[in-house]
Assembly symmetry: none
Homo-oligomer: 197 residues x 4
DNA sequence: AAGTAAACGAGACGGTACGTCCTGTCTTCTT
DNA sequence: AAGAAGACAGGACGTACCGTCTCGTTTACTT
């Protein structure tokens, strides 16, 4: 049996899609958050404005998508054999990425958009969720190894990303790689104690 | 010596100042973050726009000032005698305040502004600093009592507010009062271990 | 010598051509002048946009062509034997056609396009010229019959169509069939007097 | 009795109003009809776009107002003592104004806008009405002098402006000053005959 | 019957302009 | 002098349309 044609008309121009995301990310890294505007993205990407609005519902959504797109090159899931080791490796990679000026601007800009634009907020939460899941996977491996007892991991996960984002957004201190070790140890201790309660 | 005249002309209308801050706070609580605009604040406060710009440098500054103004009613420094007790009391009060829908909107709106407006960022950082100082004071009292060793408190402080703001901004979970106890215990343990390293 | 092959490939789809002209005319009659757009015509005709642009150089050209197409059903050249009679017959037919709401919209829309689009202007002038020629033929027959002297007919012809279009475009009055008689008489008198000067 | 204050706040900036109308008129004269855009007008007038939209409902309304504004410098009501003289003077002045390239562009552009924009149409009809009234005043003076019988003047008036606009819009001939004399004579004859019927 | 190429419906694309919204400043009259 | 009202320059937003380009399909006219 022949299924009807799924799509008619010109296909989506994927190079244009990438050019948009790249331009948006580049502008997000360069400019002050909030000064990035759609016309500039469109021009920089060599694209009409409508091509952006055909595929994203708002400026914020493009910006967030660009951020997520740029953040795809994250450290992969480490596996050192010990929970503390895995954790420290993850934290170092994460903090190091967050220390870079361009990435800081990117993430701050992303948050700025997410706070005004529900579409953007959705994308940001999706991104955050995937990051949390990466960390949770490490902790769950520790649980399955018996290094820490089974139990709720949400608090610990949110503490890690909380620290990161808090310093990122308020800017009074930069996420320090030196904190990775103590934080890893403390988290493992905290999760170990949990069963006692 | 002739001192210059202290003041000429109509005195500053303090009720207007309060009306502005109240309207701003009210709007910040009601509306979606970022949708609050100066005209609306002015109209709601029954005030001319220039009266706002006479006293604040930008929209963000008013909004942040309004937020800080509204946040003045924070729990005072507790003193239960034990560090864990003080900490838990502080966390409960803080988390409870942050759970309230209106306060959440207030803080999210404040952050939205701070991310685009340097004036606002300054005020927000000032506010955050005072909150961190309140927490640090509790921890320092613990140090002076010998409950925890002397050492760097920044990491612990930022972990607490990081957790709070992370959940506030991303919205995937609300700061939970139930977390206050475990978090207090964990923090004290973490700070106690620090000297070992 | 070998002449190149006259044609290969699919032949022009004439039903599509007619559907386009009909849809365009229908929209021109229905909608407010200037609000007719190519996508709507294409959709209404069940045709791709490119099929329109393959055969017409611009939106205006389609619209004008549609107007001319719709105006083909004009009263034929009358022949009552007397110039005043012919003229009155022509004017009545013309004014009656121009009174109809749909035709008014059609002509106004055509003019709207002609004023922005040189292609359309050309087609409109071609149409107007053929209408002027029809009137001029009547007057020339009067000249050959000796009812009016030989002389320039342009002023009289433009007076007739001027009155028509002026009322059509400004809309303060509709071309009235009752004016046809007086106007015919006046024109003949005017043309008769011309030789006196 | 004290009436409440009619208006508060900054007064309308009249120089800006005039700058807008002048810029619009200048662009209308220079550019092809339809290529005049609001941003260009605003920039040329050194004015924000909102200042235009605060006072006019649409682009067309500004353009039409500009046209009317520019057309204010029309020949005043002549008074030569005889109807034919008055009429000829009026027609010569009117046709001469309509012959000028800049004015032709202005009027064509005005009509183009009026055909798409109801706001503009209203303004254009207002202008046309005032022109018709000027002509009717001349004819009524002829009636009061007894040069022509009392009767309907609408047809004659519309014939004059019809001829003008028809040639203006279709562009096959320019309104000719040489036609003013014959036309004046013909109109008077036509109006004289009317009582006979 | 198979091959070829233009025409077709669909719809994405680069561009240009629209009219709205908002910020921070300026101006007017009032208190 | 400070205030309420509100006009102003500037600039971004998201929408609408134009005319072009590109899919995959259909259909006529060769060979």
């Amino acid at each position: 049996m022949q299924t009807t044609r799924a799509h008619t008309g010109r296909a989506r121009n994927d190079p244009a899609r990438l050019a948009i995301l790249d331009s948006a990310a580049a502008l997000l890294m360069t400019r002050r958050a909030g000064s990035v505007n759609i016309d500039t993205i469109a021009t920089a990407a060599g694209v009409g404005k409508q091509t952006i609005y055909r595929w994203w519902p708002s400026k914020g959504a493009v910006l967030l998508d660009a951020m997520v797109h740029a953040a795809r090159r994250q450290a992969p899931d480490p596996n050192t054999g010990s929970l503390v080791g895995d954790l420290e490796t993850f934290l170092i990679a994460t903090f190091r990425a967050a220390r870079r000026r361009a990435n800081r601007a990117l993430l701050r800009g992303a948050m700025a958009e997410a706070l005004r634009d529900p579409h953007a907020a959705e994308v940001l939460e999706g991104f955050a969720q995937s990051r949390r899941q990466a960390l949770r996977a490490i902790l769950e491996r520790g649980q399955s190894r018996g290094e820490i007892p089974l139990g709720d991991l949400d608090l610990a996960v949110d503490q890690v990303f909380g620290l990161l984002w808090y310093r990122l957004l308020f800017g009074h201190a930069r996420p320090s790689v030196a904190d990775a070790g103590p934080l890893a140890v403390a988290l493992v201790a905290q999760l170990s104690d949990m069963s006692d309660r």
